[in-house]
């Protein structure tokens, strides 16, 4: 219990990932959806770092690093699109985005 092993981190990662997924599924506001995806990415980052630590391999950290880079670019582009959408429609509600309806 007191000895913190890899499993502890993986469980934590799992819990965070679940929270993120709940957010993705439940949220209607696009901005909140973005937050939820950030949570997903971060939970995975924890796993990567933990595995890297417990197996003495730097690859995990490298991946976490690139994940952060991707998250940053995603935010930049995503927010830009969000702003354009908001300007055009006055809301960022997922329910309103139904132009893909067949």
């Amino acid at each position: 219990m007191m000895e913190i092993g890899l499993n502890h981190y993986l469980v934590l990662s799992t819990i965070l990932f679940s929270i993120g997924l709940v957010g993705v599924i439940r949220r209607k506001n696009l901005l909140m959806l973005f937050f939820a995806t950030e949570i997903l990415l971060n939970s995975v980052n924890i796993s990567f770092a933990a595995i890297s630590h417990f197996y003495g391999d730097l690859t995990g950290q490298m991946f976490a690093f690139f994940v952060i880079a991707i998250a940053a670019s995603e935010v930049a582009v995503g927010l830009g699109l969000l702003i354009v959408w908001h300007k055009r429609h006055g809301n960022i509600d997922l329910e309103q985005m139904s132009t893909m309806r067949g």
Binding site: M97, R101, G102
Partner: protein
Amino acid sequence: MELYLYIALFSPLVGSLFAALFAASPKSLIAGVVPSLLLFTSFVASTILLVNILSGGDIVHVEMMTWIATGNLYIPFGFVVDQVSITMMMVVTVVSTVVHVYSIGYMDHDKSFNRFFAWLSAFVFSMMILVMSDNFAGLFIGWEGVGLCSWGLIGFWYHKESATWAANEAFIMNRIADLGMLIGIFLVYWNTGTLQYDEAFAVMPALNSEILTWMGIFLFVGAMGKSAQFPLHTWLADAMEGPTPVSALIHAATMVTAGVYLVVRANPLYDLIPHVGLFIASLGAFVALFAASMALVNRDMKRIIAYSTLSQLGYMFVAAGLGAYWVALFHLMAHAFFKALLFLGAGNVMHAMHDELDPFKMGGLKKPLKWTFIMMTLASVALAGIYPFAGFFSKDLILEVSLIEHHYIIYSVLLFTAGLTAFYSFRLVALIFHGEERYKLFGIDPHEAYKFVLIAMSPLLILAIIAGSFKMTYFEMVTAVLPATQYHVHSVVTYWIMTIGTQLFVLLAIAFAYKKYANNRITVPNGTSKMENRLCYKILSNQYYIPYVYEEYISKPYRELSEVFWKHVDMKVVDASVDGIANIIYSTGEKTRTMQSGNLSTMLKWMVAGTVALLSLAVVFGLAVRYSDEIKLIFSGLGVQ
């Protein structure tokens, strides 16, 4: 020599394809002339091959390409020109060349002129494959090919209900027989491991005689279908719905003799099973008599000749069944010439009479159709077997064979049939060419066929007259591969008594036919005369009621059975299950279309569900790989390999 072989084989194909190019366009003479020329080329190539073989050259055996090679099965497209196949090739190319040229005149006014030549040449090509193949598989391809072309040519005037019916009948009857043949071929393969003639026949003597018997029987079933032997004979008479050149080529000279060719080709097999051979001979004798009796009273010119063909095929099977293969082949050859001539002559008469087929409505045509009269009379003389025409040599030989082999019943049947043959042949000639000019009652003004048509027929006439003189040359050639049994009646006296007796009997029959039918009192029968009301006449003119029996007891029950299957099995089981599957898919789509609401958050939810599904699969496969040894153990415990 290989080059000549390929020329002989593929010229008809080229001709067929050439004519097929114009098949849908209106008549063009070139579509008839080119295939005829190509066939003549094929004939020339065959002649060169014949000369090569006659002058002691080697048998030409080529393997064009590999056709099927899987596992132990190896079937090449191999062709062989030996003494047997060259005989068939000569018959096929001679008759078909004549028929092609004849058809240019005969089909002159037909709007499907080009299509006719495409089919006709395709037939010749298939026939060449059939006779030249060096294995059973190639034979079967040719066998089916001639069946298909025969279907296309019998049903050539497809707008006629009766023609399409006859075409389908011929095709279906042949399929039934071909099933037997196919089983025979399978048996050969299973038991010998090869389909090449020489290899298969080399293994056969070592096999169990029961297996050989079944092989012989099943192969003969195929031959029965193609050669229209009882009980599969009804299609041949109905096949006369096709154009007359087709009847001459396919239903007299070549295709129907394929059955005889098969038995001759498989002679090492039939030599091992003489009891099957005896059955073949007995059936042949029966068919000879049976068909000749139907020809006696028939009132359709072409059907009479068709029954005559049937009867002559019976003769050939007698010879083949008794082991006199070369005699069978010789009669096949001689018969091809005079029978094709007879048919072509009948075609001329039909043309002159505007497609009238009842000889009772003709009479006295010898004046307007002088040349046709001569040709048909000579062909009939040859058919009847009068010395020195071709029929005498070949048919008398068969009689001698049956006598020497001590099958006296067969001999007497055949002798009697020879008399019948002479009678019905000359009944036909007398009705058509002699007596009062009854055709005038129907307002027809007959004209002789084109000059070139008559010239085209002349080679057949010559061959019908002189073919018998080739007997010894032919015997020496063909016995290189066939059993060389000389059939000589031991005592000279018996021989002369037999020969002269037969000749007298036949001449008597001819005289009787002339006396009865060549006078001026013949009228068109209207069903009131005493003879027509006799029971035996009725039986004969209704072909022993066999078509009726087939219709009532096979076709109709089959139709009813099909209807039951259609209503209960097809509609309720097959269709229902197919529809059910379609409905399930349709309703699944109908229900799941709500998924595609266009709402992004719903899509996200489904995306997560999909991810879960894929991840579970990944885990399952990962576990399966991890524990593959244990899983294999469990499966082997369950008895699964």
